[in-house]
Every structure is written in C-alpha cells, then in structure tokens.
Amino acid sequence: MAHIFAYIVHEAGKADDTALELYTAAKKIDASAPVIAIITGQGEELNTVASELACVYDEVWKYADGQLSHPNAETIRPLLVSSIPADSVVLMAHNTFGMDLAPGLSIKLDEPFLPDVTEIKNLEGHILKVIRQELGGQVGTHVEADISGGLVITTRAGSFAPTDTNTTGKIIDKSQKIETQISKRRFIKMIAPEVGDVDITKENVLVSIGRGIEDEDNIEIAQELADAMGAVVSCSRPIVDAKWLGNSRQVGTSGKTVKPKVYLACGISGSFQHMGGIKGSPFIVAINKNPNAPIFQMADVGIKADILDFLPKLTEAITETNKSSR
C-alpha cells in the first residue's frame, strides 16, 4: 500500500476534531500503511498544529506561505497535486472545505473519489468496500472502488472514533514558493454570524426546537419551559430558514456547535447535520410524535408525544417542583 495522506483543517492553532477521526479511518483502510497529515497555513499557529498532529500521525507535512493563511482550495489543490506521490490515498473530512477541495483533487490526481463515507468495510486486494448513505440518510449503500491507483476519500464527521494513538511523528517542512499569481479564486474576508442575544455555545442546558413546533407562535411554549429550567432555547435549521429564530440559535454543522450537559430535542427529527452540532455527549432527551424519527437512535431517553401538548405540562410540573423546593 502506498502512502495514506490526511488533509487536516485547522483554526487558531488548533486542529479540527476530525483530525483524530481521519487517522482511525486511514488505519481501517490499511493498518500497515504510514499515515501522513498535511496542513497548510503560516506562522506559529501552523507550527503549533504540526506539533499537535505529530503526536498522532507518523509524519506531518507542513506547507507554510503567506498565500495559505486562509485555506483556499483552488490554491491548495495544485500544491497537493505537485507534492503527493502517485497512487496515494488522500483522506479529508466531508465538510465545506472538503467539498471545495476533494472532487477536483480526485480528477487532477486521476484517482477514484468516495465522498461522505460513514463506514469502511474492508480492503480485498485492491478493492476497497465502504458504506455511504443516500436519500438524506434513509438508505445505505455499499460502494466499492479499485484503489490500486490511489483514492480520494472524504469521511462524515463523527463516523469514526477519534484515535487515541500516541506517537512521535516527524514534522517535515514542505513549504514551496507559491507564485504570487493572481489565483482564479481569491479570499476576501470572513463574516461572522450576527451575535444574537444569547450565546448557545456557552449554555449547559438547551431546549431545542424543530419542525414539530409547527408555528412561530408556539415557540412561546418552548421559551416558558426554558425559563422554568433555567435553560436557553435553541433550534434546528428549518426554524431559522422560516425566519422564526435568528441563526445565532441554530445548532448544527451550518450553525453553532454546542456542548451542553443536557439537551432537550423537541420535535426535532435528528438529521446528522443537526446532531453534528452537538459535541461532548450530553444527556439527550428526545420528544417527538413520530416514533420512527432518527433522533430516537441518538437520544438517551425518548418520549413519544406531541410537544405542543407535552411541553406545557412539563413546564407546569417543573414550576411546581421549583416552588416546593424553596
């Protein structure tokens, strides 16, 4: 087996959580092949990340250049194409950066592409078998590819356990002079989402609402419960799309990442984009009138009920409990 590479995204000197998952995935493809992390960027932050990754990966190739201060797939792709040896396997996370970089990379490297993989089954000879989902997660598929000529593969965050490997990898500076060419795509700036009245990422208890709330007027019901619990209301994407709450309240991969102790998922179906915003294994209570909702697979405790009926009753009971414990 040739080399396995993992492109790692990082920010403010910290590697993305997926870095540890990608290592696990790499080992599942071929346990014997060395795994090399690739990072791009500049300055001390890059070095910090390199050191961090060197504790896990066999090698870390770092590319430092002013042009790489913000990750731009169009600039990074040719860099990788010119430095990665032929027939390599290249892993990265299936996130917005992966979507930018990976498909084109597979063409330029002339390698097959397996996107958004959730499980790696086995490698038989040169045929790798993986599992992907289709139709919004409603159906699974087994997909295979001949990886004798290499592979570009992106994995779904949270699908692979973070590795706990501890090693001392080599850090190799692969920096090249990048022509100050005017790239065909140029980064201008980042705009952070508007700071709302609350920061849900700092809350310990969240009452989160989804489509099951049915109407903007019903959000009151969730707010009352949150007040009784000393919690804060958050939501899934459809609520923000309908403009019932601002996106500062949205939990999910395109929203905020939250790390509460307790998470009440009310009328939320449990799509992986939403659940992907919940880190740290909180105690998840799911309340939904559809017993087949995927959320029940991910929650600790489930209640089959209509939240419009259930939440007011819960609020009342908690208020009573609060009163009597004073």
């Binding site: 917005t96 930018d100 397996l114 997660g137 598929t141 590819a145 102790k261 600790d300 489930g302 209640i303």
Partner: protein
C-alpha cells in the same frame, strides 16, 4: 461598470422526493421500490436555476438547463423552462446507464465545451449526497470552483463576488473569475412558483437530445471508477430508552432524570 450578458448553464437532476416517501427495498432486494415514489427536480438545483434566471433578468443573457437521465427526466427540464430558463438539453444514451459521478462530469465537460458559458451552476448535492459533480467538472475544465455558495454578485466584467456558507454559520467572501463552476446552497433566493399552466405551455417544446456521438465521447472514458453494489435499509442501532406510562408518570420520571443530570436549576 459595463456588465456583460451572461450565458449560464445549470446542471439539474430528477430525484425522488424524500420528505414523505417511504424508502423500502423492492421485492428482489436489488433496488429501491420505486413504484410509489414521486420524483421532482432536486431542491438545490431548483435554487440554482432560480438564481441563474435572476442574474439573466438583471444583466441579460441565457439560461440553459441540462440533465442526464431517462425519458422521464425530461419532466424537470420542462419545469425549469416553464420557470423561465431559455434552453434545455437532454443527454441520453445507452452508454449513460451505469455512470458514476466522474462519468457524469465527463459527459458534462463535453456539453460545456460545445457552448460558450460564463457560469456553470449545480446544486450542492443531489439524492446520493456526494457533492461531487461541480468540483469534478471544474477540474476537468480547469475552471475555478466554489461550493456551498449562498450569494452571487457580479463584481466586474469577468469577476463574481460570492459568499460561501461555512461551518458555524460563518460566511466566506471570495472573488472568483469567470468562467467558473459554483455549487448552490438552498436558501440563496426564493424560487418562483411554477404552475400547471406554465408547465402545460412548454409541454410540446422540442428539447434537443445529445448522445455520445453528438458529444464526441469515447465510451471508454465513461467507465465507472466506483460502483454502488446495493441498497439497504440501515439497521436501527442502539436506541433511546422510551419512557412509558401516563403523561404524569413520564413527566415525574423525566424530572428525576433531569435533576440527576444537572438539567434543572
């Protein structure tokens, strides 16, 4: 700022509606049970077509929609024509039977080269969730690419200013040279309604069909590099402890659990 008129190509796909469809395997287990499925245009692609139409409404030009599929796929071409697209292309050939994503991109590359497009749009993803066609097509054409685009503005004659939706709700603002390929995220605009009357009006419009010959394609180039082997309905893994009893009982149990986990103040 002189704005040049735009020729836009939008790649669209006819996919099963997932919302209320029940996805089951068919009796032989080698495919989905497609009997009761309804199909329509991939939601992301619809946003892309609306965006293209809005751009062309502002600066002039043409919107061409193209799809690759079976005879029934023409339905989505007609719907987008009814919506306001100017031209439609239908790609059909026996050789297109078992294409993988790379194969589709290979075919589309030929389509792009036959025209003179400033901008090529796809949706962020379709029913298979791969998010790959746009990126592959761009690389084949050596055009710059940006995915998950939620805003497009024409900055200069051949430059667009775009916004990408990234993790945490952040917006990444970039400039990109045309010709380029963009994949479009839902919510970029509010697609207009297409009524039955509009669809009937385009029912008899001729849609040119392109085959491998028309595109000058070598079928060898279409050989798939990845193969989907089957479909299966995911096993339900370890699931939540479902609380039983009357509502009062459930609430009492729940409050106890919340207290224990620090959920109540």
């Amino acid at each position: 700022m002189r704005e040049k008129i735009m020729e836009i190509l939008v790649c669209i796909k006819r996919v099963p509606d997932t919302a209320e469809n029940e996805i089951e395997l068919n009796s032989t287990g080698n495919d989905l049970n497609r009997e009761d499925l309804v199909y329509s245009i991939n939601d992301w692609d619809n946003y892309a077509v609306e965006e293209a139409i809005q751009i062309v409404d502002r600066v002039g030009g043409n919107v061409t929609v193209v799809t690759l599929g079976d005879e029934e796929s023409k339905e989505v071409l007609r719907r987008e024509l009814a919506m306001g697209a100017n031209n439609a292309l239908f790609l059909s050939d026996d050789a297109f039977g078992r294409l993988d994503g790379r194969g589709v991109a290979t075919v589309l590359e030929k389509v792009v080269k036959k025209g003179n497009y400033d901008l090529i749009l796809t949706g962020v993803q379709a029913d298979d969730g791969a998010s790959q066609i746009g990126g592959m097509l761009a690389a084949m054409l050596d055009y710059p690419y940006a995915s998950v685009v939620n805003s497009i503005a024409i900055k200069e004659d051949k430059v667009l200013e775009i916004s990408r939706e990234t993790e945490g709700g952040n917006l990444e603002i970039s400039q990109i040279n045309m010709p380029c390929v963009l994949s479009i995220q839902t919510g970029i605009n509010e697609p207009r309604y297409v009524g039955i009357r509009g669809i009937r009006k385009v029912a008899s419009v001729e849609i040119p069909t392109l085959t491998t010959d028309d595109l000058g394609l070598d079928t060898l180039a279409l050989k798939p590099r990845t193969t989907r082997l089957d479909y299966f309905v995911p096993e339900l893994g370890e699931s939540a402890e479902m609380l039983q009893g009357s509502t009062e009982e459930i609430i009492t149990t729940l409050i106890g659990m919340l207290k224990a986990k620090g959920g109540l103040k």
